[in-house]
Symmetry: C2
Subunit: 271 residues, 2 copies
């Protein structure tokens, strides 16, 4: 099944637009995991197993694994999700972006090595830096459009002609030119609901990955109302830290489940 | 010593503006290396040892290692360069770009794990996505400005107001606002000499990493004349495939040395 089809199925099956981001920080792990060689895998496995029926996707952030030589634990984690929770797509948050021959290598890394269902990609280098990922017809390519950090405005908010902002141009290019195969989605930060609405207007039913609720402060009601499609889907609303670190003790997975349940339900109130 | 100071010293000592890009593709390795577990390390070590007195920097491209689970060989390669060729800075070509908390993880990956002297970074997410790297005062941060691939024009060539193009805005922002610590450099592709000249004009003596000569077709004379500083330096002109695969047999390192020597000397004719 393609990433886009898996996502649509998970929206339905779990009645959820929630994506749980896996940004494992060992300094915040519960005491019983500290010092274990497989602590990153075990921590994330606990989160995944406690929340898999409440989410539409998982999104491991590769930097947290790479900083600690834990690529093997990332491979094991994604294999675990596919084996134990089939149908829940895995987005590798890597924000890659490079010339075609290098992008081919990143596609191998993401799709063959890590077996992710989708990857986040930076659009700055243009269309031919995105195409190699589309050569994998079952995979998803989620392009940065409007990011949730303060500096996101430095370039993305520039007027590129006729009142169109750079992030709007990216949305329009992806929707009308780059997404020839129906594999694309966009990243739009929850901290800017008016801009989510604008991207929704420009892109029809294109799925939007929306980081920035929870620790980053975005508002759930405004996000859902701005970004949902007519069918009440179209969104992967990501929460990472607010779920991963909802509890600090041996019951961290239960606390994460409770936080995920509340977040899913809060989202569903506005669909 | 800082990255920028090491680079300046290597320009002088080796009388060279040449950066050798390390993009190891096992399908193109000589027969005697095929099938070895450490083939990537050994191949690159052969190139490095044959060219270290002819270059101002080495630039391993992380995708080629990550696609083959060869991060350990990348660590070993950079350690080898530091041990055997001290003073030659290593640029990790990773084109990272993410929110601050994630960028901190990528900085740990690049500077603590791999012990690179500089990293390439994508500017699309703005200033706060770049700052975490600057917290490492000895390291360099090389921001994408104008890239050498065909799609580079899709966004970078957009007019962002008053006739200024997006890549010019990036050059100006980095030179006048983001580079408060003197650690920054820019990527400007060799396929666009007029744009190299424009970036030089906007950035004073900021070092420019220039990919795109060799396999990508950029012109050496035009590149050097457009990008050199008054002192005849300011450039890291990258060649990867044309040097790595100059020979196909057991003498591939000798062939690489010859190609590097010719490229260095061709560059020096126009300084």
């Amino acid at each position: 099944m393609t990433f886009i089809a898996s996502l649509a199925a998970a929206w339905q099956k779990n009645d959820s637009l929630l994506c749980v981001g896996l940004d494992p920080d060992p300094a915040r792990f519960p005491a019983h995991l500290k010092g274990r060689d497989d602590a990153i895998f075990e921590f994330c496995k606990g989160i995944v197993d406690a929340t898999a029926d409440l989410v539409c996707s998982f999104k491991p952030q590769i930097a947290y694994f790479a900083a600690r030589r834990a690529e093997d634990q990332l491979e094991a984690l994604i294999a675990h999700i596919h084996a134990k929770h089939p149908g829940i797509p895995v987005i590798l948050d890597a924000k890659r972006g490079d010339i075609g021959s290098t992008a081919e290598q990143y596609a191998v890394e993401s799709f063959e090595r890590f077996k992710a269902d989708a990857i986040t990609v930076n659009p700055y280098m243009g269309r031919d830096s995105v195409e190699p990922y589309l050569a994998w017809p079952d995979k998803g390519v989620i392009l940065l459009c409007r990011t949730s950090n303060p500096g996101g405005s430095d370039l993305q908010f520039l007027d590129v002609g006729g009142g169109e902002k750079l992030f709007e141009r990216v949305a329009r290019l992806v929707a009308t030119e780059w997404n020839t195969t129906g594999q694309c989605a966009l990243v739009v930060g929850a901290t800017f609901p008016a801009e989510i609405a604008r991207v929704r207007e420009l892109t029809g039913t294109l799925p939007l990955l929306v980081p920035g609720i929870g620790a980053q402060g975005g508002d759930i009601e405004a996000t859902v109302k701005a970004g949902k499609t007519l069918g009440g889907t179209g969104l992967m609303i990501n929460s990472s830290r607010a779920i991963l670190y909802a509890g600090q003790g041996g019951d961290y997975a239960d606390a994460a489940r409770q936080a995920a349940l509340e977040t899913r339900d809060a989202i569903n109130r506005y669909r």
